[in-house]
């Protein structure tokens, strides 16, 4: 029965993901150029090369992903909690409103953020006029701007799975916990939070994984000092036409992410992941 359920989606992914990915793997091991053509030479050395050359960007990307995930979790959790438990009949509407900004293209969102964060813009300009900030202060081009963009863009990815896990919890359990523990904070930590862990896990994955490979936020809101591995892959692919290196970097990125995910699952899995 399980295999039957897996079949349609599995076939789709096999055809349109697995096969292209295997061909990508093959490309990473090839050598050559556009004019001379590429040949499969099993050039495993390329992985070492790109790893050494781009270690800064890889580490930076993982760090950005990590910070993004933690901060979005902190921001999204109370939001999802409120919608799930205090939303009442507005639940679905509120949830939809959370994701609605993402129906207008990311380009629009990012350009408007550039407007908000402009050196002499509404926020910074006013603060500078009031003398709170020095004239040389700027946000765009710094880590903060890129992280801000990442956090903003991945907030719904964290909020939705959190909501899904929270909403299904049996409220009588929570009432019981409230009665048992004198402190609401303790009740939360002992009962609510552990029960919501599947949502935390899912949300973290949906946030961490894509954000590590992101390039848009760094490109629009960042500077050379915020280059992420996604930007490097973009450049290798489009400008250098170095498809083997771009492919190798992609696999390194995927491997790094998988290892991170496996570790994360292990850490969470040692607790009683009920639900």
């Amino acid at each position: 029965m399980a295999y039957l359920l897996l079949l349609p989606g599995g076939v789709w992914l096999l055809l349109f993901y697995v096969i292209p990915t295997i061909s990508m793997l093959s490309v990473s091991l090839q050598e050559g150029s556009l004019e001379q053509g590429y040949r499969l030479t099993w050039n495993v050395g390329v992985y070492g090369e790109v790893l050494l050359r781009n270690d800064t960007q890889i580490i930076r990307s993982v760090l950005y992903g990590f910070v993004t995930t933690v901060v979005t979790l902190l921001i999204a959790y109370p939001l999802a909690y409120t919608i799930a438990f205090h939303g009442g009949r507005f639940k679905n509407a509120l949830l939809f409103l959370v994701i609605l900004p993402f129906f207008v293209s990311f380009i629009i969102r990012t350009i408007q953020w550039k407007f908000v964060l402009a050196d002499q813009g509404v926020i910074l300009g006013t603060l500078k006029d009031l003398g709170i900030l020095g004239q040389g202060f700027h946000v765009l081009g710094e880590n903060v701007a890129v992280l801000g963009g990442l956090i903003y863009n991945f907030l719904p990815f964290m909020a939705l799975p959190l909501y899904v896990a929270l909403e299904k919890m049996d409220k009588s359990l929570l009432d019981a916990a409230d009665d048992l523990y004198s402190n609401r904070a303790v009740a939360f930590l002992r009962v609510t939070f552990p029960l919501s862990l599947p949502g935390v896990f899912a949300g973290s994955l949906l946030t961490f994984i894509p954000s590590v490979g992101d390039f848009i936020n760094s490109e629009y809101l960042g500077s050379p000092s915020t280059t992420m591995i996604g930007n490097v892959i973009q450049q290798e692919f489009l400008q250098n036409n170095d498809y083997p290196e771009a492919a190798a970097l992609s696999f390194l990125l995927m491997a790094a992410i998988l290892i991170g995910v496996a570790l994360y699952a292990r850490v969470l899995g040692t607790e009683e992941l009920t639900g």
């Binding site: 093959s26 004019e35 040949r39 002499q120 450049q235 489009l238 400008q239 992941l273």
Partner: protein, 410 residues
């Protein structure tokens, strides 16, 4: 037991022999897939079709699909008057898509079909001269039938004939041209910017921009060191690379089209810029100036070409010829504000500006200034200050790109 524990159960279990065999089986299937891919082989990617002159159909197909840069053709309330005029005059259904934002990005999307000899979906593409040179090297562009392009032959300005990147205009004809120089806000900077190195003055630190376009940035840097791009050796480029890296902290970023955003908002007070953009920006902010660096700026042209395998080549030729009519070319230039390859345009704009319908023109009320702008219509003096890109072969391009990558990435 929890979901996650089960996941790790699978990884922890000691492996039985049956399990081992099964896994070995799966592993060898995987290797088999790989071997299959290897056997498929990858042929050389250079196409031969670009060298032959493919015969044109006798009749136009009635359809035309063109890819262009944004804001590069005249615009009316419901679309482009030029496109609409072409459609009604020739009875051809034309789709003008502004999908090209970056030469390499666009090339990345058509490379695959081209290398396998398949149609890209586009009949005309407009790409910058060095990309035309690259695609020519790869044989990806159809040879043009100049007998279908009488307007081009009659009206093109001499400086655009037989260019370095496409001898004899065999595969492309120009659409528009421009200059890469420096744009700056004279009030915010407090003085005139004259040389490329002026961008690195300490008082401007953190508020200047360079281009992410390798040929432009290296071009200006090399020029400032006294080297013209076409003569540059790898050693020269390495020196330029070092110079840029040592000044990188002062630069706010390496921009593409979005430098105009920074300049309009005041985040950037000086930046590498394109001639037509600054003309447009200066209409909103008269403090903005464009200057060609003392040591030289880069001149470039964007050109129409037909990718190999295009499905409506005759219709493509008809349109390419159509826009070389001086009246049509003038209409386009009055909107686009970049140099037209048609010689008569400058005079026609002057005439339009002085004429009775001057207020209805798309460049109104700046038409007179437009006609006299020496960057939109470079004079002999201006031309001498500009340098073309270097014709790079594949290996050189790789080296230059690698060097530039270290500049742009941190």
């Amino acid at each position: 037991m929890s979901e996650i524990d089960r996941l790790f159960d699978g990884l922890d279990r000691p492996v039985s022999r049956r399990e081992l065999l099964r896994r070995a089986g799966r592993g060898s299937m995987f290797l088999g897939a790989m071997a299959l891919l290897a056997a498929c082989g990858v042929e050389a990617q250079r196409r031969q079709e670009g060298d032959r002159l493919e015969p044109l159909p006798a009749e136009p197909a009635g359809e035309l699909i063109m890819a262009n840069w944004p804001l590069y053709i005249d615009k009316g309330p419901t679309g482009s008057p030029t496109v609409k005029g072409f459609e009604s005059e020739f009875g051809i259904d034309m789709k003008h898509d502004e999908v090209i934002n970056d030469n390499e990005e666009f090339f990345g999307t058509i490379r695959e079909p081209l290398s396998q000899g398949q149609p890209t979906g586009w009949d005309i593409v407009v790409l910058t001269d060095w990309m035309i040179a690259k695609m020519n090297r790869l044989g990806y562009l159809e040879r043009l039938h100049h007998e279908e392009l009488p307007s081009f032959e009659a009206n093109v300005a001499d400086k655009f004939r037989d260019p370095w990147f496409d001898p004899g205009n065999e595969h492309s004809i120009p659409w528009a041209a421009g200059i890469t120089g420096i744009g700056y806000d004279v009030e915010a900077v407090g003085r005139d910017i004259v040389r490329f190195e002026d961008l690195f003055d300490d008082d401007l630190a953190g508020r200047v921009g360079l281009f992410a376009e390798m040929r432009d940035t290296f071009g200006l840097a090399l020029a400032s060191m006294g080297i013209q791009s076409p003569d540059a050796t790898v050693d020269d480029v390495e020196a330029a690379q070092q110079m840029l890296i040592s000044n990188r902290d002062k630069v706010r970023g390496f921009y593409g089209n979005d430098y105009t955003d920074g300049m309009a908002r005041g985040d950037l007070v000086a930046s590498m810029a394109w001639s037509g953009d600054i003309f447009a920006l200066s209409l909103d902010n008269p403090n903005l100036r464009f200057v060609i660096p003392e040591a030289g700026g880069m001149r470039w042209s964007d050109n129409m070409a037909i990718p190999v395998g295009a499905e409506h080549p005759l219709d493509a030729h008809l349109f390419m010829n159509h826009v070389y009519d001086p009246r049509i070319a003038t209409n386009i230039t009055e909107w686009v504000w970049y140099e037209s390859p048609v010689a008569a345009v400058q005079e026609m704009i002057r005439a339009d500006a002085a004429g009775p319908d001057a207020d209805d023109l798309s460049c109104s009320p700046f038409c007179a200034e437009l006609a006299e702008d020496r960057f939109v219509f470079p004079t002999e003096e201006t031309n001498v200050q500009t340098i073309p890109y270097k014709q790079l072969d594949e290996e050189e391009e790789q080296v230059w790109n690698d060097l530039f990558q270290t500049v742009v990435q941190g």
